[in-house]
Amino acid sequence: MNVRLVDTIAVSGRSPVHAASPRTKLAVAALAIAAAAVTTNVLVCAAVALTAIAAAVAARVPMRPYLALAGYPAIFAALFAWASAPDLLAGALVVAKAVTAALAVVLVLFTTPYPQVFATIQRVLPGLVGDALFMTYRAIFILGDKLDDLVVAARLRSGAGRHPLRSALATVRALGNLVLYAFDLAEREYDVLALRGYSGRLSVPVRRSAAPLADAALVAGGIACLVAAVAWRVAWRELLPYSWLPPAFTLAVLAAAIAWSAAAKEGAS
């Protein structure tokens, strides 16, 4: 999981999806998750996933890291499906639900800087929890860098490669050092916060939309996904023969998004 890459893409992206309101993106992700949760039809679930991918293409998000990160839950979902699903199709649905929800959530993170995501969530959480969210995300970067340095240093000292056990012990010792470093860092961080007037609440204003049309398109896509999922669940007897329609339609949307993205890239260069 390369959090740094996710953050860079979210901050440096210049697409309409990046410019849309963080609240809208979170709401649309919630609609997509609801659609994935409600649906019982693999093809409808695939359609929701394709819609998320189409939005990612329109946002010019690099596909390899996006799909890799969103595909990660598939490993665990596949294990669960293998252990509990009665047949292959039901297992495929379990995996598809996991990947679809992940595609929606990861898209929000790839197109929205994390302070904006957490600022929106912070409004409904107790102060302590909201602040802890901000500090955690920041700490992931600090600790990631520090851990890399410590592991390299520990391996060099223990002669990594030739002595796997010594190397493992050195790595664990590096982790212990990291905990000590983390503790000292936490103490210093609180002092800095207190000096700057921290009084129990980190306040981050939520950015407004800079692309209302993108907001509208995202909301329309999210609602369409949920409506399709509910319709195919409630009236499945009547709609089952037409299950191919949602993925066919979203494939067309995906093709349009690819064409639009390519045109925008050419225009930019």
Binding site: T40, A77, A83, L89, K97, L128, R173, A186
Partner: protein, 270 residues
């Protein structure tokens, strides 16, 4: 097995909804319990320990589909009140990165918090019983025991949800006529000829829920136990290192005895 790797839409609503409600309640209690200055001062530590846990949980041991958790260590460093906050933060960030369903963040918070709190209690109790020099062994035992208990909780949750028969029910469709669920797969996509091109009226094979649960439990306990040993070794090594280098991180300071007013302060007049 610090959290459920079950996607959204598989567990019944009452279960994940109840999980969210209990998690919010636990967070409110933790928030209230953390209002003292000394606890607030440890807030950055919550962020940093949570980040440590997230980094550990994001590194998967591929052949056994297990990832490190470091939850016992986190519980030992944070104590029970802040552990609840940390558990929630970890699960929100992991869900935001696509690791685990969003709807089950509540249940996952409860499981992770239980793991942290139980780990904290066992480690504290063990260190008091056997002393700080044996902190590493105590941590290893505490980790294995904690992970066994939370894995059992996880299997219990899946059993409670009935998700194994379920997959039939939850992958079925809501029938508006009688508000019951029926499986579209029993007639299925195959039935309408989308894949096979023909119609068939074969009865679906009977799938016992108990069989599914048994298989799920077997997988979780078998693969999980290898992970518990790995986790116990790593936690033990870190804890014994901390016990040597900075024991104050592991041993909770005893509550100060109430200060008695000095005799000179009594100016009681008759």
């Amino acid at each position: 097995m610090t959290h459920i790797h079950i996607p959204d839409g598989v567990l019944p609503v009452w279960l994940w909804g109840g999980g969210w409600m209990l998690a919010i309640l636990a967070l409110l209690v933790a928030d209230r319990a953390s209002r003292r200055y000394e606890t607030r001062r440890r807030l950055p530590l919550v962020g940093i320990v949570s980040a440590l846990v997230i980094v550990a949980m994001s590194s998967e041991v591929v052949p056994i589909a297990y990832h490190m958790n470091l939850t016992v260590l986190a519980g030992a460093l944070l104590g029970p009140a802040l552990a609840v906050v940390s558990a929630f933060v970890v699960q929100v960030v992991l869900a935001a990165l696509g690791h685990g369903g969003v709807t089950i963040v509540g249940l996952n918070t409860l499981l992770t918090a239980a793991e942290m709190c139980l780990g904290w209690a066992l480690l504290q109790g063990g260190i008091r019983l056997f002393g700080l020099p044996r902190a590493g062994r105590v941590a290893a035992a505490a980790t294995v025991l904690t992970l066994f208990v939370t894995t059992t909780l996880l299997v219990g949750l899946v059993a409670l949800s009935g998700v194994t028969q379920a997959t039939e029910r939850e992958t079925g469709a809501l029938d508006p006529q009688n508000l019951t669920f029926a499986s579209p797969f029993s007639e299925g996509v195959v039935h309408v000829g989308l894949f096979s091109g023909g119609e068939s009226h074969e009865e679906p094979p009977e799938t016992g829920g108990g069989l599914g649960l048994k298989r799920f439990a077997t997988v979780v306990y078998t693969l999980g136990s290898i992970g518990w040993v790995l986790e116990a070794l790593v936690t033990a090594a870190i804890v014994s290192y901390l016990a040597r280098v900075r024991p104050s991180l592991l041993v909770q300071p005893r509550a100060l005895a109430p200060v008695r007013p000095a005799p000179a302060e009594h100016h009681g007049g008759a």
